[in-house]
Symmetry: D2
Amino acid sequence: MKVLITGFDPFGGDTVNPAYEAVKLIPNEVAGAQIIKIEIPTVFEESAKVLEASMKEHQPDIVICVGQAGGRSAVSFERVAINLAEARIPDNKGNQPIGVKLEEDGETAYFTSLPIKAMMKNVQDHGLPAYISYTAGTFVCNDIMYRLLYMIDKEFSGVKGGFIHVPFEPTQVIDRPVGTPSMPIQTIADSLIYAVEAAVTTEVDIEENTGTTH
Amino acid sequence: MKVLITGFDPFGGDTVNPAYEAVKLIPNEVAGAQIIKIEIPTVFEESAKVLEASMKEHQPDIVICVGQAGGRSAVSFERVAINLAEARIPDNKGNQPIGVKLEEDGETAYFTSLPIKAMMKNVQDHGLPAYISYTAGTFVCNDIMYRLLYMIDKEFSGVKGGFIHVPFEPTQVIDRPVGTPSMPIQTIADSLIYAVEAAVTTEVDIEENTGTTH
Amino acid sequence: MKVLITGFDPFGGDTVNPAYEAVKLIPNEVAGAQIIKIEIPTVFEESAKVLEASMKEHQPDIVICVGQAGGRSAVSFERVAINLAEARIPDNKGNQPIGVKLEEDGETAYFTSLPIKAMMKNVQDHGLPAYISYTAGTFVCNDIMYRLLYMIDKEFSGVKGGFIHVPFEPTQVIDRPVGTPSMPIQTIADSLIYAVEAAVTTEVDIEENTGTTH
Amino acid sequence: MKVLITGFDPFGGDTVNPAYEAVKLIPNEVAGAQIIKIEIPTVFEESAKVLEASMKEHQPDIVICVGQAGGRSAVSFERVAINLAEARIPDNKGNQPIGVKLEEDGETAYFTSLPIKAMMKNVQDHGLPAYISYTAGTFVCNDIMYRLLYMIDKEFSGVKGGFIHVPFEPTQVIDRPVGTPSMPIQTIADSLIYAVEAAVTTEVDIEENTGTTH
């Protein structure tokens, strides 16, 4: 089994992006699966082109994109990506789309196909916090997650894909407002490793399709 | 023009729901439009049945559902509703769905058709905070927003619909953790009135379709 | 009985200070006591000179200073002021003391002599949030509270004095980070009125001197 | 040179206290100084008796007490301790004092005698967040800091003393509200080591006695 993991380069004035720094620390093999790690640019659409080329080259079974969510306190697993770009700040090529669809012929949203509850549980079972998030925002993190799931829908049938947000790492918060959470890069990497482990070994996600709304 | 506005009844141990308390304070006419106000139950699916009956009776041009988002500090306009129910607590009839689709034949998500940026701007122009939110959660607030937009898609073509989240009102936070924000019911009502005013008078929302992602 | 209440003028880039705006809305008589309201400058030490002159002129029984604590969500009653100035930003005359004692011959700290638990309870009993704070910071709010209690100790024996922090008012948070709490000026004023009412009518504060540390 | 460092035992329902867990990881020698580490009970006054016995036995030059401040995101250095106990929850022997003085003949407050700005700077210079706090609360953390400085004032002249608050460690926040910050115990320990290093090597603290209030 092959797992492709991406991390963004630094953006928005920071000189480091904990996403790729942590991705780099993941071993080349996790739970018997081969791990391929690539850095992608914090640029709308362009990051998806880099990802697409890598998916064509490596033919992964699982694709996990990782990005920074400054202000969050733990690794969080995104449930859904939406067909919308709204950028408060420019990306690394100066694009700042407002109210723009990502793909004209795409669904309004795509749910992740990763077993995110099993992944969250495996992180927690190893003593680290983790949670499910229901918004990946409207910047390049949502963009790459949306386009990944769009590409899976259109041309990479059967691939499981999704997105993980990670906190600031400690040096980033020294000069930020008191109270801004951070997580050491090794702790982020450990969280990602436990997440990958569950992604590789889980056939059917936990807790789904229980209860009813009526 | 007719505007139908709904507010939920109290839930989760609270004896008041600022949503309907504020809705009640909206005048029967705003910007020349007739305002119809109804309370709906904090119950998955059932609230949508009450809403559907009211939409059939009144044939509104605009439908705005209002709910409480405890912990938020200002009125927030939801951009998107997703086809998913995940309840941390039971609703008012004991339903607690986990990982359940709301409508089998519905889209993964629907975007609001309300001019929410114009609505937000009109609230701010009157000196009150407001913002756009990209997650309505996965409880009954998302449920009613999703089903409203689903019903508009299937049987009420042309109706504009969406959802507004409001903060706790002051009595609710006296015994909650220090730092939990609140907003007086009259201030929430004022925010809603400015929002309705913009919804009624705005043909095309502001700031959309500008920029590009590539 | 006479109550002297002060509020600071705007500082730090804001064009309004909710402290004095709310103080102005307090009636000239509360619970039978005469209320004297003055605005004081957001300047280290100078504000205390203005206060001292007013105390000499009016001979109040109670002095309550009010200031803004941006980011707090409710009216908070300060328990203690410390003999220290540390300014992250300059005051309105450009002073920015770091690690400076306020009064060479003053105590390390003074506790408020106001019945703050009764004051807090009266605000809460009227449906508004309120809490006790154990730090007034190290800027001009702590400065005026410290110097007030120092002056009471040295030359205004028997006067009761203390400090109340109030949240931002709504216009101040429109362009601040999402989630920053605010409170309408009238709601702040109502909180202050209930606080003054309890200050005037309470002989002995509640809940004190109970329990033991051993 | 001898440095005595204390950490509290678990309290309030938690099975671990990151304070002593981190203290245990500090080496027995830092910057040439001998480090003595003891666990003290989370009990008002009693913890000070344990500390006093240890101070008599070891005759340290520096005493640093360490405690947990759940919800804080970084190691924080306390500037001041106040002569007041107010316990929201019982300590580990069931004491829950409200409005009680810690020492009848003590000052209203004591400032730390540690070079906390140099200590904070050394932590930050090693890439970890840290800040100065102006309230140690009113529970056992403030109690031990106050009594330490009281004992230094009365019987251990010349000893430098103070208090450091540390965040939750990761397992403690798994079931706490999303957003609650944590820090791995090794990262907390690293922060403490850098702090101790600066405490041992700093003659005069930085940035003090600059500026003026008038």
